[in-house]
Symmetry: C2
Subunit: 449 residues, 2 copies
Amino acid sequence: MNNTHALAEFLAGLRYDDLPPRVVSYTEELFLDWLGSALASQGSHPIPLFERYAARMGPGDGNCQVLVNGTRSSAYFAALVNAASSHLVEQDDLHNSSVFHPATVVFPAALAAAQDLGKSGRELILAAVAGYEAGIRIGEFLGRSHYRIFHTTATVGTLAAAVAVGKLLDFDTARFVNCLGSAGTQAAGLWEFLRDAADSKQLHTAKAAADGLLAAYLTADGLSGAQNILEGEQGLAAGMSRDANPACLVDGLGSRWALTETSFKFHASCRHTHPAADALLALMQREGLNHEQLAKITTRVHQGAIDVLGRVVVPQTVHQGKFSMGTVLGLIAVYGKAGLVEFEQHALSDPRVAAVREKTSMVLDAEVDGAYPQRWLGRVEVLTVGGRRFHGAIDEPKGDPGNGLSRAELEDKFQRLLAFSGARDAEQGGELIAKVWALHANDDVRELI
Amino acid sequence: MNNTHALAEFLAGLRYDDLPPRVVSYTEELFLDWLGSALASQGSHPIPLFERYAARMGPGDGNCQVLVNGTRSSAYFAALVNAASSHLVEQDDLHNSSVFHPATVVFPAALAAAQDLGKSGRELILAAVAGYEAGIRIGEFLGRSHYRIFHTTATVGTLAAAVAVGKLLDFDTARFVNCLGSAGTQAAGLWEFLRDAADSKQLHTAKAAADGLLAAYLTADGLSGAQNILEGEQGLAAGMSRDANPACLVDGLGSRWALTETSFKFHASCRHTHPAADALLALMQREGLNHEQLAKITTRVHQGAIDVLGRVVVPQTVHQGKFSMGTVLGLIAVYGKAGLVEFEQHALSDPRVAAVREKTSMVLDAEVDGAYPQRWLGRVEVLTVGGRRFHGAIDEPKGDPGNGLSRAELEDKFQRLLAFSGARDAEQGGELIAKVWALHANDDVRELI
């Protein structure tokens, strides 16, 4: 029995009653955070392109909600548009050791299929847990060499989405193996777009969720897939990884709940900037510094941060600014935070932010790199205008499970996300919050949102 | 200016009037051959699964024809189902040096978009030429290391389909670059499924055509993509090839018409079996041997044949039999041909075929491997029951441009493909043939088929 088969057996056997209460409540929190991320992108490029594509290619009606515009479509197109939406403002969750954003691919596929099939909140929660547990382990399996070239949320996301939908379709072990085969052979997504600030990040998540859903529906109807897609000689790891670790695929199945290791994003930027942002903020507060006193900022980072952020020198778009370490630290230094509003209003236009950006550099740090991706350490060195030198360090960025967001903080973030796009007012936001906190008691998710 | 930009500039500038008459007529021949391949799969697993998926997720009507069932849908789903259909019976075309089956991905996307947009036969031909010329060069660029793990028709097919649709959408250079970026970052498809005779081959072509079409439509609406998806540090070659040759991307643009190098399939099996099949047939005819006289058959092949065919020992399905060298040679030895009917009726059940299969082996041959993929040489060694030894050799398998099929032979193949599934009778087949031979004069392809 290979590891894929063992993982499939676990997924097939997973029951709602097996989930610890903390897993259920954490899933609701991840769902709320995802919903806010999706609604925050309403009206922002390139989301309307995906909406128009769905309207042109899909049916005029259906069981499944397109969140940003309130229309209904088939499950395929609801998954497509909702997954594009929820990754745009860079506020969706991240699992550290897999370097994988599960929510933006798992929830769009799971919600679309659950609405299509008329499932309950409990079934949706169980499906999401299955998607997270499988996706995180597959991301860990593919390792750091994969992430250097491939956007793990896109590639692994296809498999995670397929697993979530497969759980809603009540797959047995054999079906899960086939489904992983059909999903894995569709896995795609290259980082090359980052250099040009192109729109591919949304395309990646859209396609991962929709392709995963397609794999699961076709599997349910009888499509077979490779039986060893992950570890086979011509499989995913053979083609797209040089440091794959098969043991990761079955690590702690049934005892380790990887979903609860997922971090909530506090800053509205690429997660690779968060450790340094928190370390700089703590240092400036501790030493009573303001942005004018900063002469030089050196962030000591892991290689992955250089790979993803190293492309951006002077950001040309707000979205690209979220991948600029200097811009993020500039917002932190000038405004004390790097939220959606700071990005939208100040990231490109405030000369004080640009000044900090120009004083910022990244260097590879052996300790930080060695801890990554299990731990995302923040290390900064500051030289002041007056010639003083300070070191800042944090070991758990805000939003990590050990330094998490309370439900009150998550509600506040959710309302800020809704206000950013104007998708809902505070009262409507409050109603959505109440529904999500009661998701475990919901009988039919078709009218959830 | 990188090679991708140069390729895009060529594609944007290509005009119907630039096409030599031989390119136009050859495109019509490739189109007929593709249409027959698609119709031949009517009713065969797993095509109905794709039909049902399209009906479930797509609109109930549309501008675009689903060939195997005569329904209409949106361009996305017509491309999806038609591309699944046309690769099933293993009778669609192949370009040798790129190891890429262009028709099964280019024509479904191009026909669907042309019907959606109400284009003429000339515009469809021009779009197909653009897709072939780009796809073949990208396949050559990615090289043999890519094909070892990745199904080139799936990965490169996404780009080729996108280019064909982009031509129908009248893209300029910048749009073609963006479109290649959005298509290339979706490129996927692993050979792992072959070991299990799984249904992924149809999934691959279906998704390549549909994903390429999606990339082009979103590009037309304003989606940006990576500007150097093929050669960039985190692009397609970086992630999925070890021997990429950038010069291939622009090889002979405007003077070399790679489309006319495409081979028609004569036998109904994987193209990697054809050189040996032709060599054995010629040897047996030359020496007057029958199958009972064969004691041992050794085929001397290129490494790609071993990679693709080496998995299958005893085929479990007809489709898997098409990837079994011994089965193909068994049909050749016993029946003198390996067509659709021979596969369907005899490949798995005739003990004489099985006997030849058990006497057949493949060995790597330096000369054959060195010539590949530019030339597909056939070399076989036969030991007879009486102890005699013979060598057979052919340098151009039947169907190669230098050993091609006449229009009469193509018509005969087309009629046999239609008769195989019963999709059309001979009279209807004749009408379709007449329409395709007049494609260059067609004013509106919406009612073509």
